[in-house]
Structures are given as structure tokens and as C-alpha cells.
Symmetry: C2
Subunit: 504 residues, 2 copies
């Protein structure tokens, strides 16, 4: 028997076990071929990838170490007596091999795979094998089976009402914080819209990061129910809800591999929405040269797959294809985005018009889900709710119900204005580049860091005139962001002689 | 800047870096999205997967740790000042993504991928993505490009002679140590046959493990040249030669995933042979219900791909399809196999006839590569060389040139005879099961552990008569092996009433 120890290494979610090379009760070589073991104690079992440690400070010869995530999942105390065996690979890996060999998987096989992934029985290598095999081809029935499996493994929200609406945007557009305007408009109208959002992983802000400038977003499921009961809406972080947990694990492998298929996207989004108890979903697909979806043809293919799968699993979906050619609003980064959102809700005359109009368009389409509304009335209704101040009031109720933010997040005090290098008109803004610079400046970890856009596409500019302002808190980040903007500031200026990329 | 430290964790070859969560010069969160970093110092660069440590004993906030393999590859001393940046994924990953999307890769793209894999720029997850994408489909041109790329990345042996022969067996048959008989026969005839072999990874013995019972196999390249010059042959471990290093890395991912495609097999074997400087290769493909290749149709498909690719890369290949229905010889495990091999070479009357005849068949086909031999003479010639004692003399010369083994490896003293449960005839022996029991008994780590087969297919047996003997050194292994044999001993006995699986 070995003594259990927590080795304080964070392996990004993967279960990793550590044995000393001079381990006494076992020979580590025996486990070398598959480098995966099963750890057993008192009815608890865990599959883990094996690493060998030479340093007895990490694990002694009579110990077994588990990485932080694995230790928590195993659920036994330090010092517990455990035994290990060569892990039997999860049975569902046979189905992965069938998929690799070009076979079509049954709904049951997909369910078994997703269940094993959600319970951390797959290594990242095995998850990659599954994802790449699926990227080769998937039938529509397989996408449906995958979506159903992902939705049914994990938690599920029930709202006890007939209609629960939601909106979702296929990301990639910086500053696109329409949810924080759509939710209060729809809630003010009276439709329940419990919105869970992610924090940013590769972008300078997720809706949860920006909402956190104004309110607590770290909300447990029971609290979420109360908030929606009181206000019809919420804007919370999805981390406590455990909806479609396999999705987060799949994404943690898709992202570094750059796997980005329509089928995975549809299964990912719809499985979360089914599990969240949504009945009606508005899906926003922005198209742009630097957005996630690059052409109308791609957007339509995506739309059709969404519509088909949504119908089969019983969610009403309305897809709106929007312009994703440039960032929405002016601020990029949590504090700056929260400023824009509140300006729109307060009907400030200098609130960014593009953010307002996009939010009204989307809120209008969500309101059309309400059977009591005459068809085509949605957008006018949304505009009325915003203009009347009812949306602002709803937002204030939501903030109060979630708990108003007690910390204050100042705008980054280190600032630099990036100038146009030519006279002309802004021809294009590279969403990807702008997001990258804002992130390097410190967003979203520093909520006050980011970029404030002073010119948008179509605006005339003169050489030496500021096109955007960089905000940061930390000197090193600030200089790194400046340097990056100097290399390529992401703006293309159209001069009298034709297009020209502005450089710092 | 961070101080470099070796974290004594063996990650099975993957470069893993460790940063403290409270790292002062950097924010670990900044690297979280891709969880891969590039480490830079003084012209040295290394890509590594990032893990975060909370325990300052593992890495302090001003340190960066590297796993054993990564530390060696980076080549800087402990305490060296290093900086880190977000790793740019290797450019060749774009080609992997193209392959995932169903495109055909050029020879250049395959070369770039293989070079990045061989220089440890891919994580296991990324290697899995490449392998699975290739398993979907590969054109013959892609297999050729892959084989060439694998052969040209790494070392290459030159022999300065016109003809260098080799033999290779597609594994899976326990006890099949024909190389140790074929090499001395061919060397005695006068053809150079420098054989490098692997140690067992999942089987109870590789040729290198068994040869090590008799001689040193841990031979550097220069020594290998001398040995072949002196004796025409060698039987050494391939670990020092660095032939097709990408192959070993690919196999370390293929094995746990159970990916086992024809295309990978052909590229793996032929790349190693090209790099080893072979001009003529005899390939043995055993077919059997528990062998690697299960049907004649599969064997023929494999043969054709071998022939095609071999021709394109300029290796003459002769494929022989053999019977792989049961283990070859009697002993399974290094000491027992070495005993059988030496019995055949010494022309002992009770040497296993199946091992002798298989070796003569294969050696004869290798001798047919000699243009001086009249076609069809090979097998008789091989038999003569063996009978005359010339093969034994050649083996003794090879052993002396490599260095006779100074350690003595006794046969495992713990023994147990497994009995037939019925009267009848041995109908089948499960190669996979027998290999597994021998391995559990301790082979190849304990060279004297293994299985001695007392009955082969076709032999009559009586209930209670021993069918094989288990040998072990360590009590726990011994009991575990017994237990496994008791569950299912791998023998099917055909009785008067029809087939019957014998159980203990």
C-alpha cells in the first residue's frame, strides 16, 4: 500500500499521479507502457496519467502523489492507504478507435465517451484523439447524439415556467457586450432570461468579467433562481452551475489545438442551453474578416446545422447574422466596456450608437419569442423599453439582486494614445489584433486595462490624430502593449492613394 | 528573469515547465490559455507544456522548473537566468490542421511536422491530433513523404559496402526469437547484417532483452561498426543509434491510444531501415487470431504498401507471410528464450523444431538477397550453415565482439505448473494471454521470469497434465501470474466432445 499525498501542481485539470522511481511496493516500470494507472482506496477510484519523480521531496518511495485536481476528485485525505493497478483504458475508447477508423457512432457510444470525459477518465491525448476523429466527419445524427450526451451529463436547471429565453453570440468581436443591455430589456418586458456567461480565456473580457465591474457574478444555483424570480433576469458566471461539464473539458483541448468545427460549436452551445433549461434561443453570428465566422456562406451552413439540431432537441432557435467587421462600442476591457453599457442604458447622448443599435436589434428578436407580441413589433418594443429607462431600472434591480460590487475598479492610469500615420478614412479594424493588444495591456485580469477606441470604421482621420488609447496598470504590460501596437496597430487607413496600414 | 531548476519528474519524454502560482516576474495566468511556453536563455530555446505549482519546494516564485527530459534538452545549468514568452505554436501545426480538415499534405509539410516532433516541439496532445488525422486517410504519396521525412530526421548509418541486409518481424508472437538465429547464419555466409532491436515495452521480451542474457547489447555506434566489420553481424539495442527519432515519439502516443494503422507501421519500419543503411530487407508477417495481423487479406494489403514504399525509397524488400497461430519455441522471457536459441544453434536434438524451421526459412530468404546464390538455394544453404556449426561459431564471435555477459541470470526459482483441465488435444494458444502472464510474472525486467511451454498446438494432453510452467523471482509477481493463469490460462483444449477452454 502507498500513502496518499497531494503534490501541489496544477495540471490544468488533468489527473496526474506521481510515483517515486524507487517506489517500494510497486515497480513504476510496470506501468510505463500505458503510463496510466487506477488508484483505489476504500471504494474511491481514480484514473490518472503517471509521472515518475526522482526527488523524494516530491514523493517518497512509499507515497503516491496526486496533482491538485486529481487529489480533490479522489476525495481521500493525505496519508490514506491506497493501492494502484494498471489502468484499464475506459471502455468507450474502443468507440473512439471505431470513429478513427471511419465508423459512425451510435448515440449510446457517444454518451459513454462524453460521460467518461466529464468524469475525467480521458487524458488530454485521448480527448484530442476523439476530437480530431470527429473533425474528420460527423453525421447530423452524430452531432445530435453528441449534443444530447453533453446536455445530459452534468447539472440541469428547471425553471417551472413555460418559456425561458436566452441569447448567445458566436464570439470574436471585442467590446460586443450586448448581453448586458439585452438582458435588462427582456427582463423589463417580463420574459425570464437567466444568462450565464464565461470569463475570458483568450479574449480581453468575457461578459462575466465585465458584469463583475458592477455586481457580484459568483452566484450559486439557488441564488440564481432567487435573482431570476425577483428580476426576470441575471448576468452571472456559469462556473457554479456545472452545465455540460464535458464541454469545458473539450474546449480546453480544442483551444490549444486550434480545432474549431461547426459540429463541435453547435454541440457545445446547444448542450449548454438545453442543460440551462432554455426554451427559446437567439443566436447572433457576426461575420467579418477577423471574426470567428468569415463569410456569409459559412454563417449559413452554421445556421442550418443549429436550426436542425435545435429542432431535434426541442429548442426554438432564431439565428441573426450580423456585421462583425469591427469592434462594437468603444471600450475593450471590463471597466471600459461596463462604461459603454451603462451609457447606453442611461440613454447618454454620447453612448456608442453601434452598441445601442446592435443591442436593440438583438433584444427585439428575443422579444419576438413572446407569443403575446404581434410579429415585427419586437425592435420597436425593445427601443421603447430602453428609452423609457425601464431597461436601466431592470439592470439596477439585477445588480442589487446579485449584490452590487463593493470594490471599485479604476481605469488603468498608464495611458498612451496611438496615432494615425496618414490622412484618410478608417477602412478596417483588425478585431483579433485589437483584442490581443488589450489583453497584453492586462485585460481582463486588470479590469481597468484595455483599449478605448476613438475612431471607428468610416471615421475620417488626420496623420498624428489619436485613433485609440491604451490603458494599463502594470508598467511591463503597458510597454509590451505599446510595442505591439507599434509593430501593427490593427487599423487600416484608406488614403486618397488607396488603402494604407497605419503603423503607430 | 527566472532561475532555472531541474524538477526531478520524469514525464515520459514530454517537456514540462513548472512555474510557482505566485511567480514574481511573470503572471502564470497569462500563459494559461495555450498552456505552452517558450523558455529562452543565451541562445537556447525550448518549448514546454506549463504546469503551475503551489508548493515552493517544487519551484519558488523566482524559479522556473523543467522536467528531467526538458532540462537535459535545454542544456543550461541550474540557476541560469532564463526568460519565458507565450509559445508560438510550431508553424507546422497549421499543416496538422489542414490534415484534420481533410487536405493532402505535401512532402515539405510532412517533413516540417516530423522535424518539430523529433525536436520535441509537439505536446502529446498535438502528436495525437496528427496521428488521428493521418489515421483518417493517407495517400500513398503521403506515406512516402512521411517515411522519407522520418528517415532523414536523425542519425544515419553508412556501411561503405554495396549490400547490407536486415530482417524484421511484425511482432506479436511470444518466443519468436528468430533474429538471434538468422543473424549468425547470414553473418557466417558473409553478408553484413547489423541488427538493432528494441527492448520490450508491452511484451515479455524484445530481442535486445534476450540477447542481453548472452552479451552486452548497450553498444555505441562506433563499436557497432567495429563489431560488424569483425563478424558481419551484430545483435544490439537500437537506443544509442538515434535512427528515426520521431518514430519512437510517435509510438509513445500510438501505443496508449491503440492507434495501429498500416500506414504508420510501414513508415515506422522503413524509415528506421533506410536510416540504418539497409539495402535489402526481409519482412516477416505472422498471421494468427491473436497476432498483430489477423487475416491473409490484411497481410497482403500490408505487403503491397511495404513493397510500394520500399521501391520508391530504394530498399529491396521481400515479404514472407508466416503462421502466427501460437508462440514459437518453448521459452517466453529472456533466459528461457536464450536457452531455446542456443539449443537450436548447438543443434541439440531436443531444440524446439518450430523455432529452428522458422529461422531456417527466414535466413534462407535473406540469403537469397545474395546475387551469387542460385535462386532457390537459400534455405538449403541456411540449413547447412546451421548444421555445420558455422552459425554457432558466428554467434560466439558476435557475443565475443559485443562483450560476453558477465552477469549470470538464473531462471526464476518460484515455479508452478499449469495443468490441463481435460483430456484432448491442444487446439489453440492465445499469444496475447500467454505474453501477458509471462510479463506479469516479471519478464523482461526479471530476465529469469517467464513461461516454459510444455505443450504446443496439436499435442495430446490429459487432464491434470502440465501444459506450461511459470517461473518468477518475486513472490507478488508469481502469485499475480498464477492468479491470471487460473482465470484463463490461454489454452483451448479440443476434447472428444468438441473444443473446451482449459481453466487452470
Amino acid at each position: 500500500m502507498l500513502k496518499l499525498k497531494c503534490v501541489e501542481i496544477d495540471t490544468y485539470g488533468e489527473n496526474v499521479a506521481f510515483l517515486n522511481r524507487r517506489c517500494t511496493p510497486y515497480r513504476p516500470e510496470d506501468f510505463q507502457a500505458l503510463n496510466k494507472i487506477e488508484i483505489i482506496a476504500d471504494g474511491h477510484r481514480l484514473l490518472a496519467t503517471l509521472n515518475i519523480a526522482d526527488d523524494p521531496e516530491i514523493v517518497a518511495p512509499d507515497e503516491i502523489g496526486l496533482s491538485i485536481a486529481g487529489f480533490k476528485r479522489f476525495g481521500m485525505p493525505c496519508g490514506a492507504a491506497v493501492s494502484i493497478i494498471q489502468a484499464k483504458p475506459p471502455a468507450s475508447l474502443d468507440a473512439v478507435r471505431q470513429k478513427i477508423n471511419g465508423e459512425v457512432l451510435s448515440a449510446d457510444a457517444l454518451y459513454a465517451i462524453i460521460e467518461d470525459i466529464a468524469t475525467h477518465r480521458y487524458s488530454k491525448m485521448e480527448i484530442a484523439a476523439f476530437l480530431v476523429a470527429c473533425a474528420g466527419f460527423m453525421t447530423t445524427d452524430e452531432v445530435l447524439g453528441l449534443t444530447r450526451a453533453m446536455a445530459s451529463v452534468g447539472g440541469r436547471l428547471e425553471w417551472g415556467v413555460e418559456q425561458v429565453v436566452d441569447k448567445h453570440c458566436i464570439g470574436g468581436i471585442p467590446g460586443n457586450r450586448t448581453s448586458m443591455i439585452v438582458v435588462p430589456i427582456v427582463a423589463a418586458h417580463g420574459l425570464p432570461i437567466p444568462k450565464t456567461s464565461s470569463r475570458a480565456i483568450t479574449s480581453p473580457a468575457g461578459t462575466a468579467d465585465t458584469m463583475e465591474v458592477l455586481a457580484n457574478v459568483d452566484v450559486a444555483v439557488d441564488d440564481m433562481r432567487r435573482i431570476v424570480r425577483e428580476t426576470n433576469g441575471c448576468l452571472v458566471w456559469g462556473g457554479h452551475v456545472n452545465l455540460s461539464p464535458a464541454d469545458d473539458i473539450l474546449i480546453s483541448v480544442e483551444r490549444p489545438l486550434g480545432i474549431d468545427t461547426r459540429e463541435q460549436l453547435v454541440a457545445s452551445i446547444l448542450s449548454k442551453k438545453v442543460a440551462a433549461g432554455s426554451t427559446d434561443l437567439l443566436l447572433d453570428i457576426p461575420i467579418g474578416p477577423t471574426a470567428k465566422v468569415r463569410s456569409r456562406a459559412d454563417a449559413n451552413r452554421l445556421r442550418k446545422l443549429f436550426e436542425h439540431i435545435a429542432q431535434e432537441i426541442g429548442i426554438r432557435v432564431d439565428v441573426v447574422i450580423t456585421d462583425g467587421a469591427e469592434p462594437i462600442g468603444r471600450g475593450i476591457g471590463p471597466v471600459l466596456e461596463a462604461r459603454d453599457v451603462m451609457a447606453v442604458l442611461r440613454n447618454d447622448p454620447d453612448a456608442p450608437a453601434d452598441l445601442r443599435e446592435r443591442a436593440i436589434l438583438l433584444a427585439g428578436r428575443v422579444l419576438e419569442f413572446d407569443p403575446k407580441l404581434t410579429g415585427g413589433e419586437g425592435e420597436d418594443k425593445a427601443r421603447d423599453i430602453l428609452k423609457s429607462g425601464a431597461a436601466l431600472a431592470a439592470m439596477e434591480r439585477i445588480i442589487a439582486a446579485q449584490g452590487r460590487q463593493t470594490k471599485s475598479f479604476p481605469l488603468g492610469p498608464l495611458t498612451h494614445e496611438v496615432m494615425s500615420s496618414a490622412d484618410g478614412v478608417v477602412g478596417a479594424i483588425d478585431c483579433y489584433r485589437i483584442a490581443r493588444i488589450a489583453r497584453i495591456a492586462g485585460a481582463p485580469i486588470d479590469k481597468g486595462a484595455g483599449i478605448d477606441l476613438l475612431k471607428k470604421v468610416g471615421d475620417p482621420v488626420q496623420a498624428g490624430e489619436p485613433i485609440y488609447r491604451i490603458h494599463a496598470h502594470i508598467k511591463a504590460d503597458f510597454l509590451f502593449a505599446l510595442n505591439m501596437a507599434h509593430e501593427n496597430n490593427g487599423y487600416a487607413i484608406v488614403t486618397a492613394d488607396g488603402p494604407k496600414a497605419a503603423h503607430g
